[in-house]
Amino acid sequence: MTPALPREILICTIARLLEGVRTVAVGAASPMPAAASMLRRALDEGARQVRLSILGSVEHNFFTNGSTELFDCAGQGRLDAFFLGGGQIDGQANVNLVGVGDYPQSRVRWPGSFGSAYLYFTVPRVILFREEHTPRVLVEKVDFISAPGISPPGVYRPGGPVALLTSKALFSFDRERPGFTLESLHPGHDLAELHAATGFAFAHTDDPPVTPGPDTATLSLLRGRVLDELEETYPAFATDWRRDLAAAQPVT
């Protein structure tokens, strides 16, 4: 079998982070979190029902009370996991979805904070996912806090960040210290490269492990059922993925 592609390693890593969830929501235009949630659902079949809602999708939408229901669900404690990206993410896990430069006249303006200023507080397992791993994205201090990584004692905060996943590495987040800890480097990346690409300091061992790839059974599930399911909602992403798979096919 063709070895796991980089995107497949990312998807399987997210699926691992979702272990034990019952209900997960992913934003629109988030094919990898969606694929990971579908994989999680497939892996847990029979043991536990995993519910997945993709915002803006008609097909993968079990909500019937308008766009407020996702937030209500989170407020009720029914939403176990959610994903956040961010134009900037800093070493305290603060997230900036608004822009670069002085607010409000931002030099670069991104769409806006969406639901982050609420969901980051209320969803127990928020996974920060941003493929671009550069000092531009992973900064020491964000220019605008759409959602803070931590809150002072006394602030109601059942939720928050648990991990940060990029194209280069996986970090866990320690709310006490607070800060990120490098868990593993994806195949082909090293610590020196990571330090250069990361604008904030992070904890790490001297010889961090390599992010594990999926086993054969998981990979088959991913390339079969999950890829088929994903295709309905993200046809372009699925086509691209199939093309990569064909290109990576070992010459026989």
Binding site: G56, N65, G66, S67, R109, P111, A117, Y118, F121
Partner: protein
């Protein structure tokens, strides 16, 4: 009798607060051109809870003074070019929010309450820049426990597109209940629809379940395909090529003007 879209636009007066829905919930793109031609400006847009093409076009046409929103973008087609330019130019009063805060403000208006409390937000720059929000200590806690109060959002007019209405003025919104929330909170509501049916949507419990009653509906216009280039749930998909075409064109003010002019020709 359905109304003409141009006469519907007459309800809009300069300085009004307009509530507009998120791109997948039924944007009345068909009303955008009549609104621009009508020309009532100094508008305050409330995106429920985010904005897209319509918001960008109204800004590009110079009709917008302020925007309260959780985000403005063209989704997969990228950033909203006229919005982003206006932000850079300092030409817009921005009220950056977060999705549930906009829902909360509308809910307060729906309930006739001056405010509702909302969790989250503490320590964000979203909160720091909102001088119209308040933080109090939760009176039900033993002390401390700060919580944000969001004041009622009372739009003058809500505008959206839906699959159908009946000739009694009831509108079928299905499970897109934020459209009902917008209507409850707003003084007036203008709706365009794909079709108008003869039988009452309230006569049958199945259709009634997804119906916004006429009580809340000021005017209805017939506009088949009226969400285009956005899609309408259960009806047609989004025309992403057209959104991308707009996104490219509207990078400059001139490109925006050309795009709008070419659209006007298509519609004429």
């Amino acid at each position: 009798m359905p109304s003409d879209l141009r006469s519907m636009a007459q309800h809009i007066k300069s300085g009004m607060r307009l509530a507009l829905p998120v791109d997948y919930a039924g944007v009345s793109m068909a009303m955008t051109r009549p609104m621009i031609d009508h020309g009532a400006g100094d508008l305050h847009l409330i995106c429920v809870p985010t904005g897209g093409l319509q918001v960008d076009q109204l800004i590009g046409a110079g009709l917008v003074t302020s925007v309260e929103t959780s985000a403005v973008s063209l989704g997969e087609a990228g950033g909203a070019p006229r919005f982003n330019q206006a932000v850079k130019d300092g030409a817009l009063r921005l009220r950056d929010a977060t999705c549930p805060a906009i829902h909360a403000g509308l809910m307060a208006a729906q309930k006739g309450s001056p405010f509702v409390p909302m969790r989250g937000l503490i320590g964000t720059d979203v909160l720091r820049h909102r001088d119209d929000w308040r933080v109090i200590d939760n009176p039900f806690a033993d002390g401390g426990d700060p919580i944000v109060l969001i004041p009622a959002i009372r739009p003058d007019i809500a505008i959206f597109h839906a699959p159908m209405a009946d000739r009694f003025g009831n509108v079928w919104i299905g499970r897109r209940r934020e459209l009902a929330a917008m209507a409850y909170a707003s003084t007036q509501t203008l709706v365009t629809v794909e079709r108008i049916v003869d039988h009452s949507l309230l006569a049958d419990e199945m259709t009634a379940a997804g119906t916004l009653p006429a009580l809340y509906v000021t005017d209805i216009g017939l506009a088949p395909g009226g969400a285009w280039p956005y899609g309408l749930w259960g009806e047609y998909p989004t025309d992403t090529d057209e959104l991308a075409r707009y996104a490219r064109a509207a990078r400059s003010a001139e490109g925006f003007a050309e795009y709008m002019a070419s659209q006007a020709k298509v519609q004429a």
